[in-house]
Symmetry: C2
Subunit: 122 residues, 2 copies
Amino acid sequence: MRYANEILELINTSHEHLTAEEIFLRMKEQYPGVVLATIYNNLNHLHAEGKIRKVTVEGHPDRYDRATRHDHLVCSKCGDLTDIILDDFTEQLQSQIRDSILSYDLQIRYICPACRKQTNQK
Amino acid sequence: MRYANEILELINTSHEHLTAEEIFLRMKEQYPGVVLATIYNNLNHLHAEGKIRKVTVEGHPDRYDRATRHDHLVCSKCGDLTDIILDDFTEQLQSQIRDSILSYDLQIRYICPACRKQTNQK
DNA sequence: CTCAGAAATTAGAATCATTCTAATTTTAAA
DNA sequence: TTTAAAATTAGAATGATTCTAATTTCTGAG
């Protein structure tokens, strides 16, 4: 995986939630020959190793994120994603569930500040 | 929306989590002329009205679900979805978040009983 | 070093889910 | 009725992602 480290670095330092396409475009600046399929291969690999997270929100392409535990605020208007560190619910959930939990994904729907502004000023 | 009521009925009574394709196949038995695009139109409509939920899990087509508040157990192996009614976290979340929450989506990853059996008996 | 096999990358076709467009049909209501 | 709006149909189009086959790069045993 020639590009895995660079891609991991990109995801870990960028505080956006990049799509495969966006990562591809940034990688292409440094490695003009690189191809989108390679980016997907690397991303799938990193994801399988648990080094990155994949965030799937309906109506949007998958985005990639740091592997650290955190939750997401998702704007219902524009789909914008914001990281948010809430209390870890694992124990609380586990106490209510028979089977053992691997992890969980919490997406909180709201209207992001930018969209709220737009709507209000109508 | 000629089919909206039937589709809503289907989703509300079936305790599976049907995909658009599956709903289409069932509807076709009763209405042989119906077309997949119409099913999507009806589903999008019902979803926009808040009468059904759409469940998006990475690597799987969207599935449709009753609108009642509940969470999901998602099998990390096969993607199988199971409804689970946990305590409502809204207040707990709201107390930690500045912006106002519309709703949230909690997917809990685990290995479903069927997959667990498969793995163990190796 | 060097060669063989394994792993990764490339190019581009293929796939799958979903949406879109345009034409037609149905519905509703005046 | 007639007319306009809404829904449906047929099938093309889109977008994201995966797949296939050919090529390149890497690795490590000799």
